[in-house]
Amino acid sequence: MRLIELIHTTSFRLAIAFLVLFAVASGALFAFLSWETRDFLTDRTDEWLLREAGTLSALDDQTIISRLSARESLSAVRERPISLFDPQGHLLAGSTMTLPVYDVNKSNPHNFATKRADERAHFRGLVKRLSSGNTLLIAQDVGELREFNDVLTNAMILGAAVTAALGLLGAAFIGAGSVRQIHTISDVTRNIMSGDLTQRLPVLGGSGDVRRLVKVVNSMLDEIERLMHEVKGVCDNIAHDMRTPLTRMLAGLERARRRAVTADEYADYVDGAIVETQGMLKTFSALLRISEIEDGARRAGFVSVDMRTVISDAVELYEPLAEEREIRLSVDFGEVPVRILGDPSLLFEAVGNLIDNAIKFTPRGGAAKVTLEGHLKRPRLTVEDNGQGIPSQEKELVLKRFHRGEKSRHEPGNGLGLSLVAAIARLHRIDLSFGEQKIGCKIVLEFNHNEQGRALSSDTSLLS
């Protein structure tokens, strides 16, 4: 794996970016903390210095000397030396300190370096000239604080270096992982492109988002594979359903060529050919319609459709047919109107097809019923009959293009009716299912929404 490739991966860059961000943030935090701590300690020191200075300067020299001498025996005295000097700078009492060389009257706390005994050290303190002419030095050793500061800084630098190294390593590791993943994904994709649709992208550990993406792509591939299979199935079916009439037509025409003598005979053969061709045209345009509907572009022209109107129009269209077959066709609209967004012609066609099927597959004297239930949360349209029904193993198949139940082979039709209904339902996001029923067939369409209901609820919200 080349370094340049690694550097170009998103995860590597992200890791680096986070590293930099982390470094800046923790640097700032460290600076803030050390500044605050120093401030706090200095404040406390100054407070003590001023308090001591105030107390001691109020006393006379003898008392100061005796106090300082008494104090010398305490252990804390090394950290906090207090000394009294005569006007010439000679030590009178207290800790063995050298008076700082600069101008001595600095009664405000400040930092300085001077000798304690013979050893040079850093202090924060103040020098106060007393009314007697002597000078008082009060100091706090800050060597330890400085040391602490140095240690902290060193630790911080070391920590930063280790973090940076680890971060870089981690970034490289993650980057390398994603490069590897991308490599596998592109390899597999290339394979899929070259025609092996059964392959899927590997779901690696990796980060959650890549995994999610891979899963989405895989389900897309599933869908593509399914569609390809369907297309293949459709092609096979077309081949079958077109070949049969084509063969019949060809045979008829050849026979006409061989045998026909009179004009009437020719006319008969030509009529036969016309009937076959019309049948093929019908099958063909039904197929085209299904793919047009499945295309989904038709959704753009959706309008609000009153299902009651559609149903009553469809029932009215099929009523004479039902009468002719002595089938009782009844409708129940329910109480609540159902309005959905859709294409009225397509919805009419779907309902019409269902009623047509119900009539077609119900024996004389049977009954078919259309029920609309608008009061349900998901409004429902049911078309049922007490005819021969659909065997349960065939239920899924009848929704596929071209499938025709074995029993219905003798009925006219191209086997596209129910798949057309299924396509229309899919376009309108209507769920189509078969109801459970001992006798006959029951098809249930479940709508996803009721425009009417929505309109009503928005009205009430306006009022309140």
Binding site: Q278, L281, K282, F284, S285, A286, L288, R289, E292, D295, A297, R298, A300, G301, D313, E316, L317, Y318, P320, L321, E324, D343, P344, S345, L346, F348, E349, G352, D356
Partner: protein, 227 residues
């Protein structure tokens, strides 16, 4: 006799259309591309134009159509197209087309629709009743009498009969009936229309005289109205 202009680039389709229209009693002129078609149509001497939606060259069917309409020529146009998507149809009609037929089509469908377009051109009078043979429809009360005897019709049957009477002597196809009487659109109405027609026929025959609705082989009907 009507004169029809056919703008179609495929020579065989064009000659088939020509033959079908000539059989239907029309005079036909063929133009093979948009430019020639536009020039021909601009003469304004045609009763109707059959226009292929997809034409070679820079001027396609819709271009010809909109140019014609802009030029103020309102000859009825029937668009032929292999594109069946619904928005294609809408676009065709919006561009000024009067009717739209998807390939493949039956020639009966084409000639019947051309007849309706040509006829629509000639009659446009406000009327309260129409006659066809011994049938008389009252457009206000929605009733039909045959030789003075009232025929008992359901509303839809009345509309069906009225449409047939308006186009008496012409072939109307099932698809046309479905579009005009039921106001829904799809290319393959089932034979259920036949059942409606035969019911209507029985009601008309019930008045005694012979039927006047004749079935045309293929998928059409004619209301015969001997004058």
């Amino acid at each position: 006799m009507s004169i029809i202009l056919v703008i179609e680039d495929d020579a065989r389709t064009a000659s088939e259309i020509e033959a079908a229209l000539i059989d239907n009693g029309c005079t036909v002129k063929i133009a093979v591309d948009g430019r020639a078609g536009l020039l021909e149509a601009a003469t304004g001497r045609y009763d109707a134009i059959v226009l292929d939606r997809m034409l070679p060259g820079d001027l396609d069917g819709l271009g010809v159509l909109s140019t014609l309409r802009v030029a103020g020529i309102h000859t009825p146009v029937l668009i032929l197209s292999a594109l069946s998507a619904v928005d294609e149809r809408v676009r065709g009609l919006k561009a000024g087309g009067d009717d739209y037929l998807t390939k493949p089509f039956e020639f009966l469908e084409l000639t019947a629709r051309i007849d309706v377009l040509v006829r629509r051109q000639s009659v446009a009078m406000p009327e309260t009743s129409i006659r066809a043979g011994d049938l008389e429809a009252d457009l206000l009360t929605h009733t039909v009498k045959r030789a003075g005897k009232l025929i008992d019709l359901l509303p839809r049957e009345y509309r069906l009969l009225e449409y047939l009477m308006r186009h008496s002597g012409q072939i109307v196809t099932r698809t046309m009936l479905f579009e005009e009487v039921w106001h829904y659109r799809y290319d393959e109405p089932t034979n259920v229309i036949d059942v409606h027609i035969s019911k209507l026929r029985r009601k008309i025959e019930a008045t005694g005289a012979a039927t006047v609705i004749r079935t045309v082989r293929g998928s059409g009907y004619v209301l015969d109205a001997p004058d």
